[in-house]
Symmetry: C2
Subunit: 161 residues, 2 copies
Amino acid sequence: MPIEIERKFLVTSDAWREQADAGVRYRQGYLTRVIGETDVKASVRVRTAGDKAWLNIKSAELGIRRLEYEYAIPLTEAEEMLDSLSLGRLVEKTRYHVPVAGHVWEVDVFEGDNRGLVVAEIELQSEDEAFTLPDWAGADVSDDRVLPRSICRSTLAQRWK
Amino acid sequence: MPIEIERKFLVTSDAWREQADAGVRYRQGYLTRVIGETDVKASVRVRTAGDKAWLNIKSAELGIRRLEYEYAIPLTEAEEMLDSLSLGRLVEKTRYHVPVAGHVWEVDVFEGDNRGLVVAEIELQSEDEAFTLPDWAGADVSDDRVLPRSICRSTLAQRWK
């Protein structure tokens, strides 16, 4: 199985929008407190992507086994839960696809608490694969350390997959 | 719409089993702490009945509007969640149907933390509807006050509906 290499950059202008698709809106929130903050044994997450939505239940680590369940639910119900029942901050963004010199970049425009943050991501087949860095790509944030904690690696790399 | 009148009795012997059906097993537990104990805005409940199972999400009261969602989920996944991820006590029982002189009684045999408790219930169309009290029916607990808190009115009257 090929290893996927991701490179991430902050986005410094709107020039990418000329080549972008219509974008898909994503929203995500939790009905439970974060595991570790309380004695809950599982997180319950609501997630929407365009016109689809899911409920996700994930256990804290139980030895080497982690339980995870995901159920498709109606979008309107997910939106209601996110608006009325979720705890803490929502993560909300629109993801666009932008073709650049033979690669397709994913550009995430965050809303809500992370409004103003725009991150571009490219997936490579190997670490030495050549790619063109567009002029709207700024600081390399592949290691995530400059990103707000709420959208750190676990969010970007796992939750939006 | 007809008003349903329920009468409940403790069960004092196993004599009802001769007329009973095979019974259906019910289990129920929560992935969230009780609303009010923490700042959660919704309860997440897992419930099984025979070979069916559901995930139920219910809001605390939001003004006059209470949000509630229920999704059918695979039994094996519900059992796993009840066994590994639920908080607090499970309510577990087997419900039998027992015909007695023209009425069908529901006999609930509790397990787990409530093991030993057996409650029989009959539904009447009116308060003065006559019914035969079988000799295995003991104390009238229609007002629930003698039942353990964990299976009090909210559980018996609402959750198992």
